[in-house]
């Protein structure tokens, strides 16, 4: 697809929609970065600010919903335009979930800051960094309609799952060594799980970007290697 629509207002509406999604994604990305910072730097103020920012993402999701419904009703889009709209609805939902998980990480940061620091925290920025990169790349792929870049993000989910599995084992070890760390480690475990889930949502978005651009789904099975559901004490 290349040209502009004969009806220019249609192009403006589609551009507006892409801009909304991009803004939503940018906010979610920023919130997640702050939430991870708040955990690592034990900064409760930053965590509180991050929590306050989440409703803005929810508001943008409603704007996306309304705009999509309006365009569907008024323009009767087909083919690539229709895919852009249907995907926008689902991408907005994924971004909204990412925002919720980021908020949850911020909430747990506040709880963690009331306990003594543990070394296991050091593993979080690593997995967090990968997840943040995935979000950034998938949003870039969305804006530039780059199916190859979307596929690259999609392939990284395995890496996140592996990191999560190893962090899970590490935290179990800490808890066995020192049962007093169980509260803190449990919070960390949930945070790691949140990050892993965010990776899944970034992967969903990558699938939707691929579908929007190519008109068909990513044709392989999604890589899956989060093994913790089967994990027992090491």
């Amino acid at each position: 697809m290349a040209g502009q629509h004969t009806v220019k207002a249609f192009d403006q509406e589609l551009n507006g929609l892409v801009a909304l999604i991009t803004r939503m994604g940018g906010l979610a990305e920023a919130n997640l970065a702050s939430a991870i910072d708040a955990v690592v730097r034990r900064d409760s103020d930053l965590a509180a600010k991050t929590l306050e920012a989440d409703p803005r993402i929810d508001g943008l999701e409603r704007e996306v919903d309304e705009l999509v419904v309006r365009i569907l009703a008024l323009r009767q889009p087909v083919a690539s335009d229709l895919r852009l709209l249907v995907s926008a609805l689902r991408i907005a939902t994924d971004i909204e979930r990412i925002g919720d998980y980021a908020a949850n990480v911020a909430k747990r940061a506040i709880a963690l800051n009331q306990a003594a620091p543990v070394k296991a925290v050091r593993a979080l920025p690593r997995i967090g960094g990968v997840v943040l990169e995935m979000i950034k790349d998938v949003l870039d792929a969305y804006v530039t309609r780059d199916a190859a870049k979307a596929r690259a993000v999609w392939n990284r989910d395995e890496e996140v799952d592996d990191m999560y599995t190893s962090l899970f084992r590490e935290l179990l070890t800490y808890m066995m060594e020192d049962p007093r760390s169980i509260t803190v480690c449990t919070h960390l475990l949930f945070i790691a799980k949140n990050l892993e889930r965010i990776g899944d949502h970034a992967t969903n978005i990558a699938e939707l970007v691929h579908y929007t651009v190519e008109g068909r789904s990513i044709d392989e099975d999604r890589p899956k290697s989060d093994q913790t559901a089967f994990a027992v004490t090491p």
């Binding site: 551009n15 892409v18 690539s80």
Partner: protein
């Protein structure tokens, strides 16, 4: 990431790129081919209006011809029952085959040919006579006088065109007093009375309101399966709603001809995509 654009690479717009081979992915019916158009070229004087069109119409399916004004879709439709014969300076090469007979063969009886192909026009054209007489007009021309046969035919044709319940009590009244949508369905009834093999429709709904359009579309949907229908329409949504296969034409060429669902979701060519999404035309 604020200044974003829905448009990707600003390549040459698809409609300005050179023409390649026609792309085909049509849905096959289970009753074979009704019409086979082979290497069909047509000139109005020295202006070529159709360029090497190759297209098969599947029997029992609805085939839609779409494309911007002047793309040749009406010219192609009118070539199928030799309606263009009367145009001065017309010349053609290639074949249109109906049941193994080339309709442009000099030995072809054009009147007999047109009986095998019903036609419905843009504006309803009921004759200034009663509803009853309109429907049986093709039989009257053939000299049928059996009253019972005529009565049965009228009922069957009007039921077939979903008009019976609306007009059964006023068959002797003038057809000119019917609404536009009813008139068009009457014309369809008249077109199917002779049991044609192919029904040609040239913008059958463009003079109708949305409700009448919906009724005619419903009728096309019901007739599909029984009749082979070729419909020219400016309304792409209509093509999407009523047809099994859609042929996209541009500047006298058949660009892409395939399953309607694919044509409106994932067409194979950029030029088709641009047209169905409203980017040119």
């Amino acid at each position: 990431m604020s200044a974003v654009s829905v448009m990707e690479k600003p390549a040459t717009p698809a409609q300005e790129q050179p023409f390649g081979e026609t792309v085909y992915h049509l849905q096959k019916g289970d009753q074979g081919i009704a019409l086979d158009i082979k290497d069909f070229n047509l000139w109005y004087g020295d202006r070529q209006a159709l360029h090497g069109v190759n297209l098969t119409v599947e029997r029992g399916l609805v085939t839609a011809l779409i494309g911007p004004s002047g793309c040749g879709k009406s010219t192609l439709l009118r070539s199928l029952n030799r309606m263009n014969d009367l145009v001065d300076g017309l010349s053609i090469t290639g074949k249109v085959v109906l049941d193994q007979v080339d309709i442009y063969d000099p030995r072809t009886d054009v009147i007999a040919l047109r009986k095998r192909m019903g036609m419905v026009f843009q504006k309803p054209n009921p004759f200034p006579m009663s509803i009853y007489e309109n429907v049986i007009y093709p039989l009257r021309v053939d000299g049928v006088r059996d009253k019972r046969l005529l009565d049965e035919t009228v009922e069957r044709a009007l039921k077939g065109s979903a008009l019976w319940d609306e007009v059964k009590d006023r068959l002797d009244q003038s057809a000119l007093g019917m609404s536009g949508g009813q008139q068009q369905r009457l014309c369809i009834a008249r077109a199917i009375v002779g049991d044609p093999e192919v029904l040609l429709m040239d913008e059958p709904c463009s003079a109708l309101d949305p409700i009448a359009t919906a009724k005619v579309e419903e009728l096309i949907d019901e007739l599909g399966g029984h009749y082979t229908i070729v419909i020219v329409t400016h309304n792409m949504q209509q093509a999407a709603r009523v047809s099994h296969n859609t042929a996209f034409m541009y500047l006298g060429r058949l660009i892409e001809y395939g399953k309607t669902e694919t044509m409106f979701t994932t067409p194979k060519l950029g030029r088709t995509l641009d047209y169905v999404t409203g980017r040119f035309g």
